[in-house]
């Protein structure tokens, strides 16, 4: 067990290194660089000499291999460098932006699980056949809605027309309401789909009949069963959902003008702000790797069928 864990950790580190390296290479391939974009493109009227000086100030004039090694050494020692676009240390950028995105993603995930449960129950145990049919089709619709479009519509309706929530309000909470809803809907869809299949399968399972024979209502039996097992499918696709949440964060933070890693990342790509982009990619890759590692370790605890076999799904 320990050996397997060490092996997994080693693989994880390798993945992190590779992700960092790929980010660096991609940045090298882009036309221009951050100094050019900010100090020449910004129409600041700088002379070519002044731009060269600034490039030297940031160490952006060194050959690529040198910058790569410097950046790598920096990351290993916990120094993420300096953002050229905003002129502040990357660590500070991350510190101010990461908590906002974690809240956004965390709340959206929680809401998505709740929504998925609701949809799944109504789809399988709802009162009328037509209602069940409608809810069975709902996840398919939810997954087809572009998040950015939904965001624009939510703002127009709930903030501007009805005035229920402010999108400019100071403090984080009120501004989070609409973006959390916007992200959670497409995230809830696959969860709901899985739960519906799960419930369908269970409804014909022998233990339901046994429980019912003992006098329990069918709904009660299934409710207990599903609640107990709701975490499992969520866990299985947690890694993929993490990626979706991050992509959702990029889009919603842009639409709603929120602080966060997503918008930071998009702006870093736009400005070719190497240090920021590398840091964000590293954080995202770390999140992905960590989640998969945890899921692998936890999965057997939740799924009795895997306790015997011991092989976690890919």
């Amino acid at each position: 067990m320990t050996r397997r864990l060490l092996e997994r950790l080693g693989q994880a580190l390798l993945v992190l290194w590779a992700a960092f390296t790929i980010a660096f290479v991609l940045l090298q391939l882009m036309p221009g660089d951050a100094v050019l974009i900010k100090f020449v493109g910004g129409d600041l009227g700088l002379s070519p000499e002044a731009v060269a000086e600034i490039r030297a100030f940031y160490g952006a004039d060194a050959p690529a291999w040198r910058r790569y090694l410097d950046a790598l050494a920096g990351v290993v020692t916990g120094d993420f460098g300096y953002s050229i676009a905003s002129g502040v240390p990357v660590a500070e950028e991350i510190r101010t932006n990461l908590p906002a995105t974690l809240w956004l993603a965390g709340l959206a995930f929680a809401l998505a699980v709740g929504l998925a449960l609701l949809v799944a129950f109504l789809a399988t145990l709802g009162p009328f056949a037509w209602l069940r049919g409608a809810f069975q089709a709902l996840p398919g619709l939810m997954v087809s809605i572009p998040v950015f479009w939904l965001g624009v519509l939510l703002i127009q309706i709930f903030s501007f027309k009805l005035g229920w929530v402010s999108v400019i309000a100071p403090g984080p909470w009120e501004r989070l309401v609409l973006p959390v809803i916007a992200i959670s809907i497409p995230i809830a869809a696959p969860l709901a789909q899985i739960l519906i299949r799960n419930l369908d399968a269970v409804s014909t399972a022998p233990f339901v009949h046994v429980a019912r024979a003992k006098g329990a209502s069918r709904r009660w039996v299934m409710l207990r069963h599903v609640l107990r097992n709701a975490l499992l499918p969520a866990l299985t696709i947690a890694g993929v959902l993490f990626g979706e949440l991050l992509a959702g964060a990029v889009v919603t933070e842009t639409v709603f003008g929120l602080n966060g890693i997503g918008r930071l990342a998009e702006q870093a790509v736009r400005a070719q702000d190497a240090a920021v982009l590398q840091a964000v990619v590293l954080i995202a890759a770390f999140g992905f790797v960590a989640i998969n590692l945890i899921v692998d370790l936890l999965y057997p605890l939740f799924d009795p069928r895997l306790r015997r076999g011991g092989r976690a799904p890919a």
């Binding site: 036309p31 089709a137 572009p146 479009w149 299985t236 992509a247 990342a265």
Partner: protein, 288 residues
Amino acid sequence: MTDILRSFPSAASARLAPPRFGWSRRPPLGLLLAWAVLLVAAAWAVAPEIFTSQSGVVGIPSEKLQAPSAAHWLGTDELGRDLLARIIHGARYSLSGAFLAVGVGLVFGAAIGLTAGSVGGRVEAILMRIVDVMLAIPSLLLALSLIIILGFGHAQAAIAVGVTSIASFARLVRSEVVTVRRSDYVEAAFGSGGRFLQVIWRHVLPNSLTTVLAYAALQLGWAILQISTLGFLGYGAPPPTPEWGLLIAEGRKYMMAAWWLTAFPGLVVILVVLAANRVGRAAERATR
């Protein structure tokens, strides 16, 4: 998004649950409608002139920002271009983009997955680690970076989206190939002296392909959404291309003055993605 829908079922739901309803007797109404939507969209893409007499690119400036009316069913945009005409002409870009994206993912993903699954050993380990890395890099950021490198254009955006889906295709193909390889008749084919590549080509590939193609069908809807997201973020086709994502992206600026510019292209995207997903899921079920 369908990426999720599919990646989970391939991993676990096949074990957890049987298909929900078989429709061997007659296709359900929903599926027929879905096909109808896709056929209409395809017809728009192939021959937009049949469906609208108005240009998708050149407008009549004096008829700008008109609300939906008999003359302009879905209204006009800031340059007096007919929105319906733009949507119809845009089908070509959005659909071809989706096919290109899925094609890129399918071809490269299948190549990696097939090699990994059939060669096995160290090659497999290395290839699958590469796939892990591709999955670990946020796909949207990867796509944005690739577009900056490749240049802005509707084909470039599609390729970038395709590249981000290589990893999930590779995983699926590998797992299918491994399953097929372990099956008795492939063992038998090897046993009866079949050459390695020949067996792979004759037996492994065709047998893995059906599942993979069903997945590809599902990916179409996902690709349309991804491409339109890129368009929204300003990384899509250059104007005046009437690509759907770009229509929403441009239209949203006029939300207060002309809601139709955002609402209708969005509804069209939803309808087409919904239809593509519905057809994709039916295809997926049919392969089981």
